[in-house]
């Protein structure tokens, strides 16, 4: 079984490669020029998502493709995001179809969903976020790529779309909240204690990738992948225990900040200027949803193997200086 993993040197890509190697796949990783993968049994293909010829060469002789590569930076020009995340996704899918690949797993994001009000339940059939409301170029480009992938699936491409939540795991400090700031022994959280964080442990997502390469009935469908819809208060308790950090949480008044954002937005609007902060941005960061993953459970047979406590323990253990690392090299 031969599989290409794009973005193989990334945070999620590394876990996917590990899992697929363990399952007996022969893995080829597509990474940018200069990157060296740490596994001797993984073939390296060099090229970026703007390079159609490199992608075509990389998918050659593959049975499966996992498209985990994306531009994830928080800054940059729109065209850079569009090139990597939209046109890159199109190139990968078109090249894979032309090469006769059996399945293409596209890694999308929970950010594609609209959260119309606090407390809503989201399924794969829920509405997309509106294009004009998406937060920043990354979310906007992932939204477009998700639509594009399913559009290709409607036209016969064997595409499966996975929408994981907020990724955490070894190799990256877990986020404690959507927005947080540390000041004088306090962690200021822009959240309500009952806000639900859609946490996804990186290896649990890698499990879903492996399952979706084989599960009958998965092609053409999107799957939401959230380990636990954990409340902010529960996460803070588990996070402090796992990290052994001594800060105390301080919940910022969300309603007051949303009202202030509304006022700032209107004031800038009167001056016909774009506000640096919008009411929608605050609401989108603080209105929580319950993400229903029953489709992934029923069709993929997916259940999060690693729970929050264990996931946080592994993530923080890996951050300690003594922890053995799995480094992705960069050629000098």
């Amino acid at each position: 079984m031969r599989v290409l993993v794009t973005g193989a040197s990334g945070f999620l890509g590394r876990s996917i490669v590990e899992r697929l190697r363990a399952d007996g796949y022969r893995v080829r990783g597509l990474v940018r020029a200069g990157r060296i993968l740490p596994w001797t049994d993984v073939e390296t293909a060099h090229g970026d998502l703007a390079d159609g010829a490199a992608i075509e060469a990389a998918v050659k002789d593959m049975e499966f493709v996992v498209h985990a590569g994306a531009r994830v930076e928080t800054t940059g020009k729109w065209e850079e995001f569009a090139e990597a995340n939209i046109r890159g996704t199109k190139r990968v899918i078109r090249a894979a179809v032309a090469a006769g690949v059996k399945r293409i797993v596209h890694i999308s994001s929970l950010s594609v969903y609209d959260v119309p009000r606090d407390g809503v339940t989201i399924t794969e059939d829920s509405s997309y976020e509106r294009e004009t409301s998406a937060r920043g170029h990354y979310s906007r480009s992932k939204l477009a790529a998700d639509r594009l992938a399913l559009w290709e699936a409607d036209r016969g491409a064997p595409v499966i779309v996975l929408r994981p939540g907020l990724l955490y795991g070894p190799g990256k400090r877990p986020p404690v909240a959507r927005q947080s700031f540390t000041r004088a022994g306090f962690k200021l959280l822009l959240a309500r204690p009952r806000y639900r964080m859609p946490y996804s442990y990186v290896e649990n997502v890698a499990d879903a990738v492996a399952l979706s390469l084989q599960a009958p009935g998965a092609i053409g469908k999107a799957f939401t992948l959230v380990d636990e819809n954990v409340t902010q208060a529960e996460l803070v308790a588990a996070y402090r225990a796992a990290s052994r950090e001594a800060w105390r949480p301080l919940y910022l008044p969300v309603g007051l900040i949303a009202a202030a954002a509304w006022f700032v937005e209107r004031t800038f609007g009167l001056a016909r200027r774009r506000s640096p902060i919008t009411y929608h941005q605050i609401r989108r960061s603080t209105d929580s949803a319950w993400y229903d993953c029953s489709r992934a459970e029923q069709i993929l047979g997916w259940h999060p193997r690693v729970d929050l406590k264990e996931g946080l323990r592994r993530a923080f253990d890996a951050l300690s200086p003594a922890a053995p690392g799995l480094a992705v090299g960069v050629a000098s």
């Binding site: 729109w78 065209e79 939209i86 294009e131 477009a144 790529a145 639509r147 016909r272």
Partner: protein
């Protein structure tokens, strides 16, 4: 009552007019503005930065990732027929920026493609919806103007090659030269008041390079007689419509957005010399103050007819009614412009556009 249908709307073309479309689309309740497409990367970057929507480099990407119900076709007119047919065949409804096409044959092919695909095609005859034109139409439709006796439409500006953005710009290769750029708006406005054309007489003048400079057309329409003046040599830039009715007359100034109504008053002869001027001055002052207030408060912007057109269009579509500008309206405007230009000796094939020697 069922909620109105919403439409996912995208733009093809991210040039200057696309920003105007985007601004007005944002205000239409039935519209989700979902993206835009252009070959030029710098235009895409600027468009996304301003309107916060995804932009795409290819039609294929636009259709796949935006999945629009309606596309506004805002590319240069010479590209309209090819792109319109492609988009219609791929299942979207079309709003085409004016002119719909250069030739009737092209316009007919677009209409036929829409019929085969079972999709709508409409044209952005936005000045027909300008508030001042709407008020003039109301005067006519309500009967206050009486029966319509004559219509004069004037479009004039001192335009020339110096006004072109560059020698490569699409306006540099319009049929007959840059004068064509002034022509589509007055042509559809004239047709809107005249009805169908029964007879047409045309005179024209050209410059030393063979480019059209002055065109005058006299038209016998099903509703009344009309005239059209398009000039490349007049200052200041002017767009006017004069309506002559059996009860009163009205003059629309499209640039200054004023409507002056003139009517007969039973007053002594001397007063009759003064009162009409005072009346016109009062109408101008009132319109100027109103326009000024509306611009300052943001209630009115440039191309106001476009916003009103879009509102009417999408409300009509959500209620299952025909578009306010039909494909036939667009095709008829293309036909009249082609016919006038033909009588000036200009073929509607885009190119240098020189007038054939007589």
């Amino acid at each position: 009552m069922s909620s109105p249908t919403r439409f996912r709307v995208a733009l093809l073309g991210c040039g200057r007019i696309a920003h105007v479309h985007a601004g007005y689309l944002r205000q239409v309740p039935e519209v989700d503005f979902v993206g835009a497409c252009d070959l030029e990367a710098s235009l895409r970057e600027a468009f996304t930065a301003r309107w916060q929507v995804p932009t795409y480099a290819e039609i294929d990407e636009l259709l796949a990732a935006s999945q629009p119900d309606v596309v506004h076709l805002l590319t240069p007119p010479a590209t309209h027929p090819r792109l319109a047919v492609e988009l219609l065949q791929r299942g979207v409804h079309l709003m085409v920026e004016k002119p719909m096409a250069f030739s009737v044959a092209e316009a007919d092919a677009m209409v036929q493609a829409a019929q085969i695909a079972g999709r709508l095609i409409t044209v952005d005859h936005n000045r027909w919806f300008d508030p001042v034109v709407q008020r003039a139409r109301h005067l006519l439709e309500s009967g206050r103007l009486g029966s319509l006796v004559g219509v004069e439409v004037f479009a004039g500006a001192a335009v020339g090659e110096a006004d072109l953005p560059s020698a490569e710009h699409w306006k540099a290769s319009l049929p007959g030269g840059i004068l064509y750029d002034l022509a589509p708006h007055p042509v559809y406005l004239l047709l809107g008041f005249l009805g169908d054309v029964k007879d047409l007489q045309v005179v024209h003048r050209s410059d030393a390079n063979g480019h059209l400079e002055e065109v005058r057309a006299i038209i016998d329409g099903t509703r009344c007689l009309g005239s059209l003046t398009i000039s490349a040599n007049t200052r200041p830039f002017a767009n006017r419509i004069s309506l002559y009715g059996s009860n009163m007359s009205a003059e629309v100034n499209l640039n200054n957005m004023t409507l002056i109504v003139r009517q007969t008053r039973q007053v002594p002869k001397l007063v009759g010399k003064v009162l009409p001027n005072l009346d016109e001055a009062a109408q101008l002052l009132r319109a100027t103050l109103q326009n000024g207030a509306e611009f300052v408060t943001g209630r009115q912007r440039f191309f106001p007819g476009m916003g009103l057109h879009f509102r009417e269009l999408y409300r009509a579509l959500s209620e299952g009614r025909p578009a306010p500008v039909s494909a036939r309206d667009g095709r008829n405007a293309v036909w009249l412009l082609q016919e006038i230009w033909k009588r000036c000796g200009v073929s509607m094939v885009p190119g240098p556009g020189r007038v054939a020697s007589k």
